[in-house]
Subunit: 156 residues, 2 copies
DNA sequence: TAGAACCCTATAGCTACTATAGAGTCAAGT
DNA sequence: ACTTGACTCTATAGTAGCTATAGGGTTCTA
């Protein structure tokens, strides 16, 4: 019999914060664990594995909804796994779309950057000028179409 | 003298919603405009241009903070524009990082997908098996490092 | 028995919006 | 003059996936 783990121990074993674990519990990705006499959460090795699985999926940039779906398949081993493949296929497609989009962006940005080789006053700045001109030209598309995030995220 | 625009007219000219315009105003990207007798916002052509500029920046996936910075340069034409170039350089770097990251992801995902050619029961699913194994192996890195978003976004 | 280190819940914050509720305003038609 | 509909106003809550805080309780060690 292996001793049960506190939330902090589970956290350090899975490289994620206690807060995140409690969040996953609220979100239904992890079951509510047993509690100690002092109301502390007690985890076992099954939960270590489940959380590791979740974190691995997150490291593959899956959404919690996608992960929820995968967990359902894991929890019902007799179901047909074609849907697992389908889910993965779609995720691959999302990622591919995003790459395409970012490459286009990159091209535009580098072009824009090329307009300022010798920095002077902002009133003669080629970059600002061109952005203003481009803005006037366009009926600019919305920032990012569909199911795809921008390139910014704060550090953790 | 050109007639002033209502928020709805500004919205349709710039391809963005009235709500978004009010949001930009709250965020200090757009100045509080004049008001009519009935307390309606009244915009002029300078605001059309300013908002177009903002939307163009957003279509280049800049954050509102980055845009705020650019607007400050636009508003102070005598300042040196080296910082504009620097800002753009950093943005280009963010995008490049994100592309690299997504390519790695794509490789992993396709590999995983290859494990299920003939779908059967989930208890023999090569994908789920491998994800479980991989999760056990790793001290999985956090979902996305630094300043970078995942590939998912809901449609507008 | 004190203090440090952990745990608990509840709540607010982050980005860049979007969507609602509930009220007021305006122009056109009758 | 009055109604109808389209517009506008403010304020508030919701989205994803956490992170951070406040204000308490618990457990371990000295």
């Amino acid at each position: 019999m292996s001793r049960s783990l506190s939330i902090g121990e589970l956290a350090s074993r899975t490289q994620c914060q206690s807060e995140t674990i409690r969040y996953y519990e609220r979100e239904g990705l992890l079951p509510s664990p047993a509690r100690s006499a002092g109301n502390y959460r007690q985890y076992d090795s099954a939960q270590v594995e489940r959380l590791s699985f979740i974190r691995h999926c997150r490291s593959l940039d899956m959404t919690l909804d996608e992960i929820r779906a995968l967990l359902k398949f894991r929890d019902a081993p007799s179901r047909n796994c074609a849907e697992v493949s389908a889910l993965l296929d779609e995720h691959v497609r999302h990622v591919a779309d995003r790459i395409t989009q970012l490459r286009g962006l990159q091209r535009q940005l580098r072009q824009l950057r090329g307009l300022c080789a010798n920095p002077g006053n902002t009133d003669r700045c080629g970059i600002l000028k061109e952005m203003t001109r481009a803005a006037r030209r366009e009926g600019h598309a919305p920032p990012a179409v569909g199911h795809v995030h921008g390139p910014h995220r704060r550090a953790r």
